[in-house]
C-alpha cells in the first residue's frame, strides 16, 4: 500500500487544479490571479489548470476579506469540493481582513470561515508571489509525505 499512496501523492502534487473565488475583494487580487494564469506565466508547466466548478478543483484560491453576505456561500463552495482539498488566501485582506478588519459587514480573513493552508500577503499579491505561494504549498505537501514515510 505504501507504494500506491506514494504514486497518488506524486500525482496530487503534479496536478493541482485551482478554483478562483472572490470573497469580497476590491478586484485587484483577482486581476493578479488571472494574470498569473495567462500564457505569460504559463502555469500549465506545473500542471495548474483553472476549473470552473468546485467538483473538479483541488485548490481554492480566495481573494478578499470574508463579508457577512458571502460567508455561507464560501462554506458551501468549500464543502462541494472533493477531498483532499486546500485553501490558499491571496492578498492581505484574505490573510487578515486587511484595512476592512473590524468593519460592520466584514468577518476578518478567510480563516474565520474555513481552514486555510497557505497565506500569500500583498496588496495586491503579484502573480510571481501567487505562483511562489502555490509552489510552496505543494512543496510542504511533499515534505509532509516524506515525514510520514520516516
Amino acid at each position: 500500500m505504501g507504494k500506491l499512496t506514494h504514486i497518488v501523492n506524486w500525482a496530487r502534487i503534479k496536478s493541482p487544479w485551482v478554483l478562483h473565488f472572490n470573497t469580497g475583494a476590491c478586484n485587484a487580487c483577482d486581476i493578479e490571479i488571472i494574470a498569473a494564469l495567462t500564457p505569460r506565466y504559463d502555469l500549465e508547466r506545473f500542471g495548474v489548470q483553472l476549473k470552473g466548478t468546485p467538483r473538479h478543483a483541488d485548490i481554492l484560491l480566495c481573494s478578499g476579506p470574508v463579508t457577512r453576505q458571502v460567508e455561507c456561500r464560501l462554506k458551501m463552495i468549500y464543502e462541494q469540493m472533493p477531498e483532499p482539498k486546500f485553501v490558499v488566501a491571496v492578498g492581505t485582506c484574505a490573510c487578515s481582513g486587511g484595512v476592512f478588519d473590524g468593519c460592520y459587514n466584514v468577518k476578518s480573513g478567510i480563516n474565520a470561515a474555513i481552514p486555510v493552508s497557505a497565506y500569500i500577503p500583498g496588496c495586491p499579491a503579484s502573480p510571481k508571489a501567487i505562483i511562489d505561494g502555490v509552489v510552496k504549498l505543494l512543496q510542504s505537501l511533499e515534505a509532509e509525505e516524506e515525514k510520514k514515510e520516516k
Binding site: 503534479k14 496536478s15 473538479h56
Partner: protein, 313 residues
C-alpha cells in the same frame, strides 16, 4: 482464448488505448501550448491528472440518480474501447470484422455522447442540464454529415465492412482521392464529436462551468476524461482507415509506423483547429452542419455514384 484475452486487454486493446489516449492528450496540449508561445505541460501530465482524479473522493449529488450517475462513465468508456476492435489499423484486417460493422462502429461511437447527455441530465444541476441538452442538440447536427460521408466512401467500395473497405482501397490505389470532400466534412464532424473547439459548445467553461461534467468528480470524472482521450484515438483511427487508406500492405512494422503517423497528423490538425478557432454558438453550429456540411456530403455521395458507374466494373 488466452490470445483473445491478450488482444482485448493488452495489445491492441485496453492498455494500448490507455497509453495512446494519454499520449494523444499530451501531444494535443503540448502543441496547443507551443502554438500559444508557451512551454506547456510535461509529458506525464495526463497520467498525473488521471491518477490524481482516481485518488480523489467522488461525490454523488443528493438530487442525482445514483445508478445512472455512477454507471454512465463506465458505459461510455467500454463502448469507445469496443468500437476500436472493428477498425483496421495497420493491415486490411481488423481484429474482428463482419459485413455491416460500419454501422456497429458508428453506433458504438455515438454511445459516449449519449452517456454524456444522460450523465449530465441525471446530475439534476442547472449547468449540467443545459450542457446535456447542448450535447444532444449538437449530436443531431454533426452525426448526419459524418454518417453520409463514411457511407459514401463505403458505397464506392461496395461493402459494409471497414476491413472490406480497407482491402478495396489498397487494391485500387488512388481511389481514396475521390473521398477528399468527405474527409474534410468527416474531420469537421469529428471535432463536434470530440467536443473540441470550435464545437466545445456543450462544455463551454466560460458560459456553463463545465457542461454535463459539472457535478462529476474524482474517479467518475477520470473515466469520462479517459473516454474523451480514447475517443480521440478511435475517431482519428476511423478517419485514417476510411479516408487515408494507404500503407496497408507493407507488413506489420512499417504499417504500424504509417498508422501512427496518420493518427499523429489528425491529432495535430485537431489541436491546430483548437488554437485558431473560437467557439461557435449552438445555432451557428446547427446552421453550419445542416446548410453546408450535409449538402456537401450528398454531393460526395453523387460523386461516388458517378465514379462507381464510370470506373468500377
Amino acid at each position: 482464448m488466452l490470445k483473445q484475452l491478450f488482444i482485448l486487454l493488452v495489445f491492441p486493446g485496453f492498455l494500448f488505448l490507455l497509453t495512446s489516449g494519454l499520449l494523444a492528450e499530451f501531444i494535443d496540449r503540448r502543441l496547443y501550448a507551443r502554438l500559444q508561445n508557451r512551454q506547456g505541460p510535461p509529458w506525464f501530465q495526463p497520467l498525473a491528472d488521471f491518477i490524481k482524479l482516481l485518488g480523489k473522493e467522488d461525490i454523488v449529488p443528493q438530487e442525482a440518480d445514483t445508478t445512472v450517475f455512477r454507471l454512465m462513465p463506465l458505459v461510455a468508456l467500454s463502448a469507445t474501447v469496443a468500437a476500436f476492435f472493428y477498425i483496421p489499423l495497420w493491415g486490411t484486417e481488423a481484429m474482428f470484422s463482419f459485413n455491416g460493422d460500419i454501422i456497429v462502429v458508428l453506433y458504438l461511437l455515438m454511445l459516449p455522447t449519449l452517456c454524456f447527455f444522460l450523465g449530465g441530465w441525471y446530475s439534476r444541476s442547472v449547468f449540467s442540464s443545459i450542457g446535456a441538452v447542448r450535447v444532444l442538440t449538437q449530436l443531431f447536427a454533426y452525426e448526419v454529415p459524418l454518417f453520409i460521408c463514411i457511407l459514401a466512401s463505403s458505397l464506392l467500395a461496395n461493402t459494409w465492412s471497414l476491413s472490406g473497405m480497407a482491402a478495396f482501397y489498397s487494391k485500387h490505389p488512388g481511389y481514396w482521392l475521390f473521398n477528399l470532400i468527405g474527409f474534410g466534412i468527416a474531420f469537421i464532424s469529428l471535432l463536434g464529436k470530440l467536443e473540441k473547439v470550435p464545437f466545445d459548445i456543450p462544455e463551454a467553461e466560460t458560459e456553463i462551468v463545465a457542461g454535463s461534467f459539472t457535478e462529476y468528480s474524482g474517479r467518475l470524472l477520470a473515466f469520462f476524461r479517459l473516454t474523451i482521450d480514447i475517443e480521440l484515438i478511435v475517431g482519428t483511427s476511423l478517419l485514417a482507415a476510411v479516408f487515408l487508406p494507404f500503407g496497408f500492405g507493407v507488413g506489420p512494422y512499417i504499417g504500424f509506423v504509417i498508422y501512427i503517423l496518420k493518427v499523429l497528423l489528425l491529432v495535430a490538425l485537431v489541436s491546430l483547429s483548437r488554437t485558431i478557432f473560437a467557439r461557435l454558438r449552438i445555432d451557428q453550429m446547427i446552421n453550419l452542419c445542416w446548410k453546408y456540411l450535409a449538402p456537401l456530403a450528398f454531393l460526395q455521395v453523387l460523386l461516388n455514384l458517378i465514379a462507381k458507374g464510370v470506373m468500377v466494373k
